[in-house]
């Protein structure tokens, strides 16, 4: 840092070991009254013995006075600043209250659960698990069914189904095992039913058979004692 052209070099190291430039650099804080006691004493001593430094200090005081004057002329902020601040604080307080309320609910729920015996909790947990599993099964079933919500009834009925079909009503006394055996014997599968009159639609061939062939199969079916009624179907 250089010193101006005011001959302060003559001070040498006379101010308790401080360089003149150091004293000069402290003048603003000396003028503002913000120097520590020791530094203030050093500056005062230098000012007493150096008229040029004292003149420089006057310049600093002039700058200080005009800086204060300039800042004071800036006025003050409007009430908007305070309003904005308090609105922001209110908003934070509301947010904090909601958080506290949520925490309170969580605590109350925890206390409620804690009041049950371990056995009750275990039973409740089992039921909850079963309910969740059932719900999951229903959801998977609903989502994976091919005849979903996107297939209309008209489209379904309008589609020609491959194969040959017959309508069958089984005897009241026929057991499930007998019906299963009947279907195996005739290489038939149940595809629909029971419909009105207790009729089931069975597929008797994977391909479209001639009417005569279907009639022959139906006649053969009628001879079985588990069948009460049989007729060709579209």
């Amino acid at each position: 840092m250089t010193i101006g052209n005011n001959g302060m070099e003559h001070q040498g190291m006379g101010h308790q070991g401080m360089e003149p430039a150091e004293i000069e650099a402290m003048l603003p804080w000396y003028a503002a009254g913000t120097l520590g006691r020791r530094d203030r004493q050093r500056v005062e001593e230098a000012l007493r013995s150096d008229p040029d430094l004292a003149r420089h200090a006057d310049l600093v005081r002039e700058e200080l006075a005009e800086t204060i004057c300039l800042n004071e002329s800036l006025g003050a902020p409007s009430a908007r600043a305070m309003d904005r601040l308090m609105a922001a604080i209110d908003a934070e307080a509301i947010g904090a209250a909601h958080r506290v309320s949520l925490q309170g609910m969580t605590r109350r729920f925890s206390s409620f659960v804690a009041s049950f015996s371990p056995r009750t909790l275990a039973v409740a947990a089992t039921f909850a698990t079963l309910a969740i599993a059932l719900q999951a099964f229903l959801l998977v079933d609903m989502l994976t069914k091919p005849a979903g919500t996107y297939q209309t009834a008209s489209v379904s009925e309008g589609k020609p189904r491959p194969g040959t079909f017959a309508l069958v009503r089984f005897a009241h006394q026929a057991s499930a095992a007998e019906i299963t055996k009947f279907l195996e014997t005739n290489q038939a599968t149940l595809v629909d039913g029971p419909k009105a009159g207790g009729l089931y639609r069975v597929k008797v061939a994977m391909t479209q058979l001639a009417k005569e062939e279907l009639a022959r199969i139906v006649t053969h079916m009628k001879q079985d004692r588990v069948v009460e009624f049989a007729a060709p179907s579209e």
Binding site: N5, L70, P77, A81, R84, I89
Partner: protein, 186 residues
């Protein structure tokens, strides 16, 4: 007497005392506003910044450790906010030079300054300093911050504070000379 009272207020603010917040605001907002305004030269933006500064105080009062005066803490927060806003403005293309040219599009500054008295000329020159020099002169002369406090606020070593202040004053002297005031220094 004021510093301990400020610290007490901060303690109460940390416990959510809104009245303490209002008292602290009333005590310091004008000086913080002027510090911000001198750097930003935009009153609306300066008002927004001081609201943000005191909102930070509301949020962080419990973290205040009392290592510096409350006013120093406030100015340090304000300075950080101002730099963020100015940086954002630069990114958006409205840099400081543009802002200054928008603010003072008037006649030849030399002619304007020549008509003023000495005090007015000096104030005009103070206003013509760079933001860095304006800042340090305001901190030392108006906000009465010690060398150590300026170092804390600006984030530079104490020796750099003295050097920066010296060059700010030197620049002021040069501007004064151009404006027709020969102060005999530098």
């Amino acid at each position: 007497m004021q510093a301990p009272a400020d610290e007490l207020l901060i303690g109460r603010i940390a416990q959510g005392d809104r009245l303490a917040m209002q008292v602290l605001f009333a005590r310091h907002h004008v000086k913080v506003f002027r510090f911000v305004l001198r750097l930003m030269r935009d009153e609306m933006a300066a008002e927004d910044v001081i609201s943000e500064v005191f909102l930070d105080v509301w949020r962080q009062a419990s973290k205040f450790e009392g290592r510096s005066a409350v006013s120093t803490w406030l100015i340090a927060i304000a300075r950080f906010k101002v730099l963020s806003v100015l940086r954002k403005r630069r990114e958006e293309g409205l840099d400081e030079a543009t802002a200054e040219s928008l603010e003072e599009p008037s006649d030849n500054p030399e002619v304007a300054i020549a008509k003023l008295d000495k005090g007015e000329k000096l104030r005009k020159c103070l206003g013509a300093l760079s933001p860095e020099h304006r800042e340090i002169i305001d901190l030392v002369y108006y906000h009465q911050k010690s060398i150590e406090e300026v170092a804390q606020i600006v984030g530079i070593p104490e020796n750099t504070v003295k050097t920066r202040m010296f060059y700010a004053r030197k620049k002021l002297g040069e501007l004064c000379k151009v404006a027709g005031i020969d102060r005999g220094w530098p």
